[in-house]
C-alpha cells in the first residue's frame, strides 16, 4: 500500500534538545541583525566563524575532517533555531548544507583535508556553479565547457544567480567535459575552483531592491588541475542530483519568513490576529513534521525525491502565505529603512518572496517530479 510519497514521522535524537537550548542561549547573547530570508541575504562571515567555534558548522562531517560527527537531525535542530531567529547564516549556508557533504561523498583525501575543516570553522564559503543564462530548470543543458589542457582542464562559460560568489572562497562548477551525446546527462563533471582566480570574473546581479546577493560568474579559461575535479569526470549529473537532495525540503524551505510571525507576536492580539496566528502555527507544525520526516528518510539512507519535492512546493508557498497573513495584521507598511523591525522584515520578505518558489528547482518542475513519482508522467 506504500506510495512513493509516503513518509514516516522523524524523531529528534535525545541530544537535540540540549543543542537547541544552547543555540537559543547563543542567539540571546550574540548581537546580530535579524532578517527575513537570512540564509540567502544575511551574510556575516564573523557570525559564521562564531558558529564554527561552537561546533555548529559541518556538524555531520566526521571529526577527522574537522567536523563533529553529529547526525542530520541534530543539525536540523540547530539550523531551524538559527533560521527562525533570522540569524545571518548566508555566508556559510551553501558550504555547510551541500558542498561539504558533497566533498565528503565524492572528494579525494586531499580535497577533504583542504576544504572540510575550513568549512567547519566557518572560514571557507562555497558558491554553487549550476545555473546559466540559458540553463535554469533544464540544468542538463549547461554550456559551460571544460577543455582538456595538460594535467587539468580549462573552464569557459558563464554561471548566473550565483549567491554569495563575491564572498566565497571557492565555487563548485558543473560543466560539460565531453561533447553532448544521445545521453544528455552524460559528459558532465564538477570542478572545484578556488576564488579569487584571475580568469574568473565575478559581477553583481542586483536584486529587486538593488541588493547584491547574486552574481554572474564568467570563466575565461580558468585552469582546474585534475586534483580539483570532484568525483569522477563524467559523473557530474549523478553527483549534482544527489547534491540537490540536500537542497530541498530542509527547514529553510519553510522558515524564510518566520521572523515576521515572531515580530508580529504581541503586537496584534485581537481575535482575528489570534486566528491567523493559529492558522499559520497549524500549517507550519504540519509542514515541519514533513520536513523532519524527509530528513529522517535521508538519514536512513533512502532517497525520498518525491516527498522532498512536494515538501518544498508546499513549504515555499507557506513562506509566502506568512507574508500575506502578517500584512493583514501588522498595521505597518513595508519599509526597508524603517526603525520598526516588522516594517523592515516585511519589506525584505516581499522582495525576496518571488525567489522562494524559483530557487532549488521551480515549484512547477518539482510538481513534475512528483507527477513522475506518481506514475502519470
Amino acid at each position: 500500500m506504500a506510495r512513493p510519497s509516503d513518509l514516516e514521522p522523524g524523531t529528534f535524537p535525545p541530544r537535540a534538545a540540549e543543542l537547541r537550548r544552547r543555540v537559543r542561549e547563543f542567539l540571546a547573547e550574540t548581537p546580530f541583525t535579524a532578517r527575513c530570508d537570512s540564509w540567502l541575504t544575511g551574510a556575516d562571515p564573523a557570525f559564521s566563524r562564531r558558529l564554527g567555534e561552537r561546533g555548529w558548522l559541518g556538524m555531520t562531517l566526521p571529526e577527522r575532517y574537522g567536523g563533529h560527527g553529529r547526525c542530520p537531525l541534530e543539525r536540523f535542530a540547530v539550523i531551524e533555531e538559527l533560521l527562525a531567529a533570522g540569524a545571518p547564516v548566508g555566508a556559510h549556508w551553501i558550504a555547510d548544507r551541500q558542498t561539504g557533504p558533497s566533498i565528503l561523498a565524492h572528494g579525494t583525501e586531499e580535497q577533504k583535508a583542504r576544504f572540510l575543516p575550513a568549512i567547519a570553522r566557518g572560514e571557507c564559503f562555497f558558491a554553487i556553479g549550476m545555473s546559466e543564462p540559458d540553463s535554469g530548470s533544464d540544468l542538463a543543458s549547461v554550456r559551460t565547457r571544460a577543455e582538456r589542457d595538460g594535467d587539468g582542464w580549462r573552464l569557459h562559460g558563464t554561471k548566473v544567480w550565483t549567491s554569495g560568489a563575491h564572498i566565497a572562497h571557492a565555487i563548485l562548477v558543473l560543466a560539460r567535459s565531453a561533447p553532448r551525446s544521445g545521453d544528455r546527462h552524460a559528459g558532465l563533471s564538477q570542478f572545484i575552483v578556488p576564488l579569487p582566480d584571475e580568469r574568473v570574473a565575478i559581477r553583481p546581479i542586483l536584486g529587486l531592491s538593488g541588493e547584491h546577493h547574486f552574481n554572474e560568474v564568467v570563466f575565461d579559461g580558468a585552469f582546474v588541475p585534475d586534483s580539483m575535479v570532484l568525483g569522477r569526470a563524467g559523473d557530474g549529473w549523478r553527483q549534482v542530483t544527489a547534491e540537490l537532495a540536500y537542497e530541498r525540503s530542509g527547514p529553510e524551505r519553510l522558515l524564510s519568513t518566520f521572523l515576521l510571525v515572531r515580530l508580529l507576536h504581541g503586537r496584534a492580539d485581537g481575535p482575528a490576529a489570534r486566528r491567523a496566528l493559529g492558522r499559520l502555527t497549524a500549517r507550519l507544525w504540519s509542514l515541519r513534521q514533513a520536513s523532519l520526516a524527509v530528513a529522517g528518510a535521508l538519514e536512513a539512507g533512502l532517497t525520498p525525491q518525491v516527498p522532498a519535492a512536494l515538501v518544498k512546493d508546499l513549504g515555499t508557498r507557506f513562506e509566502r502565505e506568512v507574508i500575506e497573513v502578517v500584512r493583514e495584521h501588522a498595521g505597518v507598511e513595508p519599509d526597508p529603512a524603517s526603525p520598526d523591525p516588522l516594517a523592515r522584515a516585511l519589506a525584505e520578505s516581499v522582495v525576496q518572496a518571488p525567489g522562494f518558489t524559483l530557487r532549488g528547482g521551480t515549484n512547477e518542475i518539482l510538481r513534475g517530479i512528483v507527477a513522475r513519482g506518481l506514475g502519470v508522467r
Binding site: R274, L277, R279, L314
Partner: protein, 314 residues
C-alpha cells in the same frame, strides 16, 4: 502492524464490514485487553481507522474503540460488545440517572450502547431508553440528537476525561480518517488520470493535470505525516490541534482536485470517488474544523512568550 493493516484493508473493503470488524476484534484495537478490548497501541488503532477512511466504510469504528471503548477502559468499566458511541453535552447526572440533550451524536441510532460524559462521570446508557432525532452528515452517516429523559444508566464510574478532552480525541480520530480518505482520493485520481483518454492521450499526460495531482499528493502527504506524528503524541494538545486543522484544510483542497481530475464522471452517485469525498467534506468539520482549531491554537500561541518555542517546545 503490517499484518494488522492487511487484515483491516481486507475486511474494510467488503460491502458491509461491521460484523467482521467486531468478530475479528478490529473494532476494539487500542483498547486494553483487560477491559475487553483487543490491545495495541494508538498507532495500531490509527492504522485500522486510516483503512476505514481509505475505503469510505460506513462503520462506527472511531466511536466504538478509539472513543467509547477507551473511555470505559480508563474508568475501569467493562467494554460492552457491539457498536458504541461516545458523547458529551448538556447532561446532568443524579446518581445513576441522566437527564439532558446530546447533539449530533455519531451513530446513536445504530449503537448498542451510548457512552455519556456528564458531571465528572462516564455512564453507559441503552439507546432504547433515549429519544433520538435522526440527523446525518453529507456522507449519510448518522449524526443524531439524543434526549435522555431521566434515563437510568447501566453503569457509572468517575471519569477524569472532560468534554474538551473527548473533543480532542474525536478530532484526532477524524484527522486519521481524513488522511485515509485523502490517500484514497489520490490513488483514485492517479489511476483515473492514467486511464481516461482525451485528445488521443491519457489526461494525466497534460501538465495542467499533473500539476493538480502533485498538489493533491502534497496535501495528502503532509497531512498524513503530521497526523501520524500527532498519533505518536496523542496527549499533546498542540500536536492534535495542528494536525486536525491541517488535515481539515487539506481535505477541501484534496476533494476539489480529485473531482476536477475525475471530471463529470466523478460526480455521479455510482462512482466510488463519492465514498471518500463526501466523508472529506463531513469529517473536516466534525470535532472542530480548521478555523475552530486555529482559534484554539492561536489563543495558546498568543499567550505563550514566543511563537517559535510554542511550536517547538521550551
Amino acid at each position: 502492524m503490517e499484518l494488522l493493516e492487511e487484515t483491516a484493508h481486507e475486511i474494510l473493503a467488503r460491502d458491509d464490514p461491521w460484523a467482521a470488524l467486531v468478530e475479528s476484534g478490529l473494532a476494539l484495537v487500542g483498547v486494553p485487553e483487560e477491559a475487553g478490548g483487543s490491545g495495541g497501541t494508538p498507532a495500531d488503532a490509527a492504522a485500522v481507522l486510516r483503512a476505514a477512511g481509505h475505503h469510505g466504510a460506513a462503520v462506527p469504528l472511531a466511536e466504538t474503540g478509539w472513543l467509547a471503548g477507551r473511555l470505559l477502559a480508563e474508568a475501569g468499566l467493562p467494554v460492552p460488545r457491539g457498536a458504541l458511541t461516545a458523547a458529551s453535552g448538556e447532561v446532568e447526572a443524579a446518581g445513576r440517572t441522566l437527564s439532558g440533550t446530546l447533539r449530533r451524536v455519531p451513530w446513536a441510532r445504530s449503537a448498542d450502547r451510548l457512552v455519556v460524559l456528564a458531571d465528572g462521570v462516564v455512564a453507559v446508557v441503552d439507546p432504547a431508553a433515549a429519544r433520538i432525532t435522526e440527523g446525518s452528515n453529507v456522507a449519510g452517516e448518522p449524526r443524531d440528537d439524543v434526549v435522555l429523559p431521566g434515563v437510568r444508566a447501566e453503569a457509572v464510574a468517575p471519569c477524569a476525561v472532560g468534554p474538551a478532552e473527548l473533543r480532542r480525541r474525536g478530532a484526532l480520530a477524524r484527522a486519521v480518517q481524513l488522511t485515509g480518505a485523502m490517500g484514497r482520493a489520490l490513488e483514485l485520481s492517479v489511476r483515473y488520470a492514467g486511464e481516461r483518454e482525451q485528445f488521443g492521450r491519457p489526461v494525466g499526460r497534460f501538465q495542467a493535470v499533473q500539476q493538480l495531482l502533485a498538489e493533491l499528493a502534497g496535501e495528502a502527504t503532509v497531512a498524513d505525516v503530521a497526523v501520524r506524528a500527532a498519533v505518536r503524541g496523542p496527549d499533546d494538545p498542540v500536536a492534535v490541534a495542528a494536525a486536525k486543522a491541517n488535515a481539515s484544510r487539506a481535505a477541501g483542497t484534496v476533494a476539489a482536485i480529485a473531482h476536477q481530475v475525475h471530471g463529470a464522471l466523478g460526480v455521479t452517485g455510482e462512482h466510488v470517488l463519492r465514498t471518500v469525498t463526501l466523508r472529506l467534506w463531513s469529517w473536516r468539520d466534525e470535532y472542530g474544523n480548521e478555523t475552530e482549531w486555529a482559534d484554539e491554537l492561536g489563543a495558546s500561541a498568543a499567550a505563550a512568550p514566543d511563537p517559535w518555542t510554542f511550536l517547538t517546545g521550551p
